[in-house]
Symmetry: C2
Subunit: 232 residues, 2 copies
């Protein structure tokens, strides 16, 4: 296993949605030796089942802490994930940025991770953005990740005092199948994760939204049995 | 009055805390012709009275809309403003970054403003950061404001589709007295605003925290009668 940097128990904040990508990201951060403080955001998303999944994933992968902040993004709407009047597309992945895009979501989540990192005295943040999302969501692109890291290094008291924040996006160049393979290598139980945009309260997936389609295709391409619990 | 750009009713998001600076910023945005959508954040701050002040200020200055999002930053703590166990300093403004610094606060608030701007289809965000805060808070510096604008122009669907977000910080080079003079010229009723870090539920100020001291000195230097309601 390739370990770019051993951190010997140093603390890192890991954004953990409860989905497949962030679970693998947490496993990577753990494998690199970080003590992981997982942050989830209850932002009024329709797939709140992912938050219970995040709790299970954090525990299974030995997180040192897990917080879930409440943020009423549903008061702003503008996305199929935060506005009940906008339907989640189920006809297949289409070109362009889908209506499930949540305005500025990664900027918001990274800013909250930055806040917690500063409170904890941590200089490392992990986020599970990746190349598959890249084609659709602007805030998953490598140049976006670099820009956020630059901003973070101007934004905080810690930065003024000389700390250098590192934003780790270990999945950025991986496709879904590679992410799954990496997760399997690291012992991630993907059966605990929820990716579906409209999972029911038990975490059962619809099987037809973009997120379900990308996930299912990823398991097929990786040659890994799909542990997703689908609704029937 | 200097009007850098007439916007003829174009929509802008204005971060409105309920304090003196953001009220003046709103007045400037209105004077420039923007239809203003004010955003306040209930982040667990001890001076929640500023949120009622924000509502009054938004109405008095003819905002087109006002939203208050709830964000449980008090779950993270790390600041005298969000953690009841850390006292607000009252002995006078000291050198360095004070304990009232809220980790990553402006990054968080700007990211939420960015989200709402995208939902509204607006390309303009106004924030009341200024040169007086500059000495203390890292996320009030001009280079920080520029970095956030750059990030915003990578972060959103709107940016990918060609929109260019402008982050306006019209107070950035002004001292407190100049801000007050500008506000008076534009008809801001500073009696509606609350700056105190530990204002009581009626908005009455303590008179001794850093924010009260800077505000009081600003009114004196501006030669403007101080309308602040102090506790006795």
């Amino acid at each position: 296993m390739n370990m770019p940097r051993s951190a010997s128990g140093q603390g890192a904040v890991v954004l953990l949605s409860g989905g497949l990508d962030s679970a693998t990201t947490l496993a990577i951060a753990r494998a690199e030796g970080f003590a992981c403080y997982c942050l989830s955001i209850d932002y009024g998303q329709r797939h709140r089942a992912e938050l219970s999944a995040a709790t299970a994933v954090a525990e299974a992968l030995g997180a040192s802490g897990h917080r879930c902040l409440r943020l009423s993004l549903d008061d702003l709407g503008g996305s199929a994930l935060t506005d009940a009047s906008i339907a989640v597309p189920v006809a297949g992945v289409a070109p362009g940025i889908p209506v499930t895009y949540v305005p500025a979501r990664n900027t918001i989540m990274l800013s909250l991770a930055l806040a917690w990192a500063e409170v904890l005295g941590s200089s490392d943040i992990f986020v599970g953005v990746n190349a598959v999302d890249y084609s659709g969501y602007p805030d998953c692109r490598p140049e976006y990740v670099e820009a956020f890291e630059s901003l973070a290094n101007l934004a905080t008291k810690a930065a003024v005092e000389g700390a250098r924040l590192r934003l780790h996006a270990p999945l950025i160049h991986l496709g879904k199948a590679q992410i799954i393979q990496r997760g399997v290598e690291l012992g991630v139980d993907f059966g605990l994760t929820v990716s579906c945009y409209q999972a029911d309260e038990h975490g059962h997936a619809c099987g037809s939204c973009d997120s379900c389609r990308l996930r299912r295709a990823g398991f097929v391409a990786a040659g890994v049995a799909d542990p997703t619990r689908y609704r029937v």
